[in-house]
Symmetry: C2
Subunit: 152 residues, 2 copies
């Protein structure tokens, strides 16, 4: 096409497409596997972050940043999770603008049930398919990507 652009070479092209297709398939698969628990991978990640947080709760904005989601999207999703009684909102005492999203007991219980299946899926469809070195490389690469792009 044009000659000033540094196009990807053949191997890079192949790797890039493999990444795009592989990611699409992987996410679809993991999503699928979670559907039996009434969750999507996005919901699942929210529950996980909350479960790891002190008091099992996090500020909305904090949670949004960790998942790289817009606040708006998070509001909607947490609304649904709240309707399903997996998460509870409580207003933050120290900053009256703030809202805590807190994992409920039934949210925690559901997560306990879903987690083993999910981890199996991640292993079977990703981790166990790669050599430890290659998987470590994936970690390094995307860590650099995250770092480079930074928070929104």
């Amino acid at each position: 096409m044009d000659r000033g652009t540094r196009w990807l070479n053949a191997e890079q092209q192949v790797a890039w497409r493999a990444y795009l297709l592989g990611t699409a398939r992987l996410m679809a698969k993991l999503d699928d596997d979670l559907r039996q628990f009434g969750l999507g991978i996005n919901d699942y990640e929210i529950l996980v972050r909350l479960s790891e947080a002190p008091e099992r709760r996090l500020r909305m904005a904090d949670l949004a940043d960790r998942l790289h989601q817009s606040r708006s999207r998070l509001t909607h999703t947490v609304g649904r999770l709240e309707a399903a009684d997996l998460v509870r909102r409580t207003s933050c005492t120290s900053d009256k603008r703030g809202v805590w999203a807190e994992l409920t007991d039934s949210g925690f219980t559901l997560l306990e049930q879903a987690a083993p299946h999910h981890v199996d899926g991640v292993r079977e469809n990703l981790v166990d398919l790669a050599s430890p070195e290659d998987f470590a490389a994936v970690g390094r690469v995307f860590d650099a990507v995250s770092e480079h792009i930074g928070q929104r």
Copy 2:
């Protein structure tokens, strides 16, 4: 939690999360960069596949498979691209059920304009951040993932 499950070890956990976050940020960034051309990364990929195909056209189902999309989603998206005169639909002569999606001249022109920017983005936010070996590893890993999960 439970003891029968093979949880991810610390490094695997970190790598997995880096991948999730990095991918989210990367896709958002690439999407953003394409918005100046009125395209999303999904639209872009469709145009690319068509531009590479013989006669610059592909059967809908074929295109859907290559992008790992549902036929329904592709129908909707191609409908929008057609309304923007970037793609044209023509009915397939050999199988009257089939439909060709064909890149229009203005679709091709737009792609020519967008491609250099997009490639720069892919380089700057991914390829150039990794060593060649690490990036090759990414390719291997997701190739294995694709292979393992297979077509839907």
